[in-house]
Every structure is written in structure tokens, then in C-alpha cells.
């Protein structure tokens, strides 16, 4: 079922928690709210669920305005980070609870509970109490409970936040599988960008109660709309400057000029940020020949870290700027801290963000450390 938020706003005693959010979620879509803690994800989700009344704006579900409909009448499934299982009920009773509320006959109820537990691979645990289950098992029960009455929309608020990494990955795939199997709308909250990239059809990036950008994982990674998105989703090197008259290069504050994919001369003179993903750059030993089209900056290796799949190399371009480069780890690096090197990349691998376009563009000083992985 489609969900639609129209200029939704929530204030707590003058403090704005969610600010004018407008968002359309297609039927059957896996939509993820991604953003740092306190950015308004939960509040937005709770407004959809009906736990929180919006201060302004409208929420539509399947074309019907629901912002005044009480939670228990919305028929939306919900999974909480702390599982929120009823401790005094068995697994079976927990999962049957929504069906009881809907006065589903006992025989049908038994079947549906069994099917739901099958869906989350928890058969045989019916008589246990939540306290007798591991965290992962509890979250499966919570998932079964939220899905047992076949809601058209399932909301999940950091459902895997309390689990360890291995378990989280297992469950991520299960959630993805269940979404594919059921074909209903999922709205998923996380602050983990890897999880968001892995699971979602589309991602809405939250910051300070607003949505910075909505798009597919690729949109966000390749074409970040703001420097915040660029830095929050994946690692990046960001250079702030001004778009040159030609529209094909950005003049940095320190006078250097970086070639960029053409932006059109009409935008010339506007503030611009150049975003370069670390795996799109290479480190060349000082003086090593490179393709002539290569954009290069010279510096000194500050550190080299072997990460298993990649090698992270930090290069100090000048005392106020460092660049991050990721190289495949399968070939020897040949550079060591202290070595003079060149960092080199293709201009078309950069993204340009014009600073007074869209809202929420970074206004911090141009000189920053590269954002490390969150």
C-alpha cells in the first residue's frame, strides 16, 4: 500500500523534531530512513504508526488521510528495536495477540501463527517465553507478531540495533527475503548506512528533522545532493571551492583548480563542492607516470591500513588537508608512511554539489579531514 507524507511537521514544546517532510512511498517499496541519531527518523515513523500526532501536515495511506486515525485502527505492523515482546506471554500467545484483537477464530488463528512462525523460521518455540529466547530469536518473534495479520505496511525502528554484527547480517537477509516474499511496503529506520544500502529500494537521508535526499543506493553514492549525504553515505573526499567560468573546473580556496564533469557555464561563480569517492582515486609513487587525463595532487603518505578487502591510504596534501584513498588489497601497495606520492583520479569520477542549490548544503570551512567510515 502506498504511503504519502505531505509537509509533515512535529514540534515538542517549540523544539522542531521533524520539519516539513514530504515523501511518497510506493506500494511494495522497501523504504529506509537513514540518518544520525536525533535526526527525526523515529518521530517520522511514529507519526506513520500513529504513536505521535503530527503538529502539521497530512499522512495518506492507500489514498486515505490517516493522521487522526488512532494507532490501533491503522492496521500497520510495527517492529521495535527492543523487541517489545509481552514478557508474560508465550511465543505463541505473542504472535496470536494481534489476531485475538481482530477476533480471528481460534482454528484460523493457530494456522496463521504457525505460518508466521514458519516465515521467521521459529517453529518449535511456541511454548517458550521471551526471556527464554536469544535476542535474535526475540526479534524474529517480533517480526512474526507484526506480520501475522498481514498488514499492508510494516514499520521497523532499528530492529537489529541491539544485535551483534554476525546476527545482524543473517537477519538483514531474512528481512530482505520476507519483503520479497510478501511484497508489502516496508519502512525501515537505521543509522547504519551499510544496512540501508543493502536492504533498500530507496533511502531517505534525514538530517536535523529534514530529508536531505531521497533516492536509490546508487543515487546517493554516485550523485549525492548535499555534502552531508556524500559524507554520511560511504567515505568521501570533499573539496570546497567556486565553479570556474568554463563550468568544467572548480577553483579551490587555496587557488588550486580541479577539473570536474561539465556543469554548464550558467552556474559559473557559484560555490561548489567536489566529491571524490576514495576507491576512485589511486596513489602513485612520486614521479610515476600516469594517464595525462589524470587529475593529480601531490602529498606525503600519512598512514596505510590494511582492511582485508581494501587498503586505506591517507595522504597529506598540505598541513590542513588530507585525502583518503582505497586500493584493492590484492596487490602490494609499494607506499609507506612518509613517502612522497601523487594522488590521481579521473575528472568524470567526481561529483559536483553546487552549494546554494537545495537545502542543507555544508557551510563548514572547506578544509576538513576526509570523513572516515561511520
Amino acid at each position: 500500500m502506498a504511503l504519502s507524507l505531505r509537509s509533515v511537521r512535529k514540534e515538542y514544546g517549540g523544539q522542531v523534531a521533524v520539519d516539513m517532510i514530504t515523501l511518497d512511498i510506493a506500494p511494495g517499496e522497501f523504504m529506509t530512513f537513514l540518518g544520525p541519531s536525533g535526526s527525526g527518523k523515529t518521530t517520522t515513523l511514529n507519526m506513520i504508526a500513529g504513536f505521535v500526532q503530527p503538529s502539521a501536515g497530512e499522512i495518506f495511506m492507500g489514498g486515505r488521510e490517516i493522521s487522526r486515525v488512532p494507532c490501533h485502527k491503522r492496521g500497520i505492523g510495527m517492529v521495535f528495536q527492543n523487541y517489545a515482546l509481552f514478557p508474560h506471554m508465550t511465543v505463541e500467545q505473542n504472535v496470536a495477540y494481534p489476531l485475538k484483537q481482530r477476533k480471528v477464530p481460534a482454528n484460523v488463528r493457530r494456522e496463521r501463527v504457525s505460518a508466521a512462525l514458519g516465515l521467521v523460521q521459529l517453529q518449535g518455540m511456541e511454548r517458550r517465553r521471551p526471556a527464554q529466547l536469544s535476542g535474535g530469536q526475540q526479534q524474529r518473534v517480533a517480526l512474526a507478531r507484526a506480520l501475522v495479520y498481514r498488514p499492508p505496511v510494516l514499520l521497523m525502528d532499528e530492529p537489529l540495533g541491539a544485535l551483534d554484527k554476525r546476527l545482524r547480517e543473517t537477519l538483514q537477509f531474512e528481512i530482505k527475503r520476507i519483503h520479497d516474499e510478501l511484497g508489502i511496503t516496508f519502512v525501515y529506520v537505521t543509522h547504519d548506512q551499510d544496512e540501508a544500502l543493502l536492504l533498500s529500494d530507496r533511502i531517505a537521508v534525514f538530517k536535523d528533522g529534514r530529508i536531505e535526499q531521497v533516492g536509490t543506493a546508487e543515487d546517493l553514492y554516485e550523485r549525492p545532493a548535499t555534502t552531508f549525504v556524500a559524507e554520511f553515505v560511504g567515505d568521501s573526499n570533499v573539496f570546497h571551492g567556486t565553479l570556474a567560468a568554463s563550468g568544467t573546473s572548480v577553483r579551490l580556496d587555496d587557488g588550486r583548480e580541479l577539473r570536474v564533469p561539465g556543469c554548464g557555464a550558467s552556474s559559473a561563480g557559484r560555490g561548489a563542492a567536489v566529491v571524490l569517492r576514495p576507491e576512485r582515486a589511486r596513489v602513485l609513487v612520486y614521479g610515476e607516470a600516469a594517464q595525462p587525463s589524470c587529475q593529480r595532487l601531490s602529498g606525503v603518505v600519512a598512514s596505510v591500513h590494511y582492511m582485508g578487502s581494501a587498503r586505506r591510504i591517507e595522504v597529506e596534501i598540505d598541513p590542513r588537508r588530507r585525502m583518503l584513498v582505497k586500493e584493492p588489497a590484492d596487490r602490494p601497495s609499494g607506499v609507506h608512511p612518509g613517502d612522497p606520492v601523487d594522488v590521481c583520479w579521473q575528472a568524470e569520477d567526481c561529483a559536483v554539489i553546487l552549494s546554494d542549490e537545495g537545502h542543507g548544503t555544508h557551510r563548514e570551512p572547506a578544509t576538513r579531514r576526509p570523513v572516515s567510515a561511520t
Binding site: A49, G50, F51, P70, C71, H72, K73, G75, I76, G77, M78, F80, N82, A84, L85, F86, P87, H88, Y97, P98, Q101, R102, Q121, G124, A131, Q132, L133, S134, G135, G136, Q137, R145, A146, Y149, D164, L167, T170
Partner: protein, 295 residues
Amino acid sequence: MTATLQAERRPGSPAPRVRGDSSAPWLLLLLPALVLLALCFVYPLARLLVASLQDPVPGVGNYTDLLRSQVFRNVLGRTFLTSAIVCLTCFVLGYPYAYLMTVVSRRTRSLLLAVVLIPFWTSLMVRTFSWLVLLQDNGVINDTLAALGVGRLELVRNTTGVTIGMAQVMLPFAVLPMYAVMQKIDRRLLRAAESCGAKPVSAFARIYFPLSLPGVAAGMSITFVVSLGFFITPQLLGSPSNAMLSQLMYTEITQLGKWGYGAAMGFILLATALIILGLVRVASRARPALAGGAK
């Protein structure tokens, strides 16, 4: 259990509790309390038991006399009934009060706590007399009711007065255990229930209330047992037809010097109270929610 599920068991998850030597030395820490209990409680109790079987003549005469006495049976029944009424009153007043304490701000909570603890700060005698002055036929409350055109009510020297006076004394004993349990209940469970389609009232009744039952059971047990021994309050705020067993015991022991008879009364009261509490425990075992659901 399947292998995948086995793998999911986290280190912190429940495993069979290890009973071993490590806990034995710490049990010794109970020793001082046990000695104190033995000397200050068990010993006098044993003395009383002996008295009830020896004074004035050896045998169970005191017990048979008592069980034959209509007055004793009536007063015993009334003692339990009064305690039950006080218990119920404390529940009706205390439950919402304890609940309120879990939802208000820190400051308001301290204030609510102070209000309910007031009985501990004033002498029982003074407090009971104040109730008398408030509740009597020409008292403040009745004057107000009369001025409002409601008419005067008989609020004192009857069961109403006894219940009011005793409930005020017992309220903290009911509120504090209930608050202690409620404060640990995860309120997000209510949201979870609503998201499952439960009306707020139903969510409270089916989720919150069962989880609060251990506190209710604790509070009610204490209230009930302590109420059984009330003396001054029923005498001052009730009439002789509200007399409780402790008043009868007082008369026997101090006025008539019949130690054995009074002691036997005490033992029958104790035994009956233990049986009732035992039944409550058995009942709460049967209902797992009482046995401890809240985490």
C-alpha cells in the same frame, strides 16, 4: 533446537542457574538476621504457644472454648473482612496513585511520594484523632456536605470510619511495592499492543495490568497482614461492633489476665492468616503472570 538457533544464543541469554559452593558462604550473611528473628520472634512466639496450651490448665481447652465462642468467631471473621476491605480500598486508591507516580516528572514524583508517606511522620494517635474530628457528625467534612446540600453522612464510629483510618495508614504499604514493579514495566509494550490493534484500555488491561500483578500481590499481602493487627484505629474510629481481634486480645490479657486465652486467639489468627497467604501464593503460582513477568 536447530543449529542456526543454537548459534544465535548470546552469552547473556538465560542458561540453567549454577548452584554451587560459591553461594554458600554468602548464605552465612543471613545468620545475624536469623539469630535476631529467632530470639525476638520465634522465642516469644513459642512462649505464647506454650501459654496457650498451659494457662490456666494444660490442654487445648483455650482453643476449644474459643472455637465454640460465637463472639470470637464473629470477631475473627470481621478481622479478616475488615482487612480485606482495607486491602481492596488500598488497591483502588493505590493502584492509580502508583501508576501516576510512574508517568509524572521527577519532582512531582517526590511530592507524591511525600504525600503518601505522611502517615509515617505523625503519631498514629494524633492522626486517628484528626480523622475523628474531620469525620464526626459535626465535623468539617459533614459541615461541608451539609452546606452543599448533600446532607450529613455517618462517616465515623462505623466501618466507613475504620476503613478510612486504616487505609490511610496502610496506603504506603500498598503503593510502594506496586510502584516498584510498575516502574520497571516497559511502557513501550503498550505501544506495541496498540500497533497490534489493541484499544488503549485493552492494552492496559491485558498487558500492563498482568505485568503489574507481582506488585499488586506484594502490596496487598502486606496490607492485609498488617491490617489484621490493628487496634487503636478500629477502637477510635469504629464502634464496638467494629472490634477487631487485637481489641479482644487486649481485653483478655490486660483486663482479665487470661494469658492463655489471649495467646490462643493470637495463634488462631496467625494460623488463619498463614493459610490465606498460602492460598494466595498457590493461586499466584497457577497464574504465571504473578510469579514474575516484568523484566
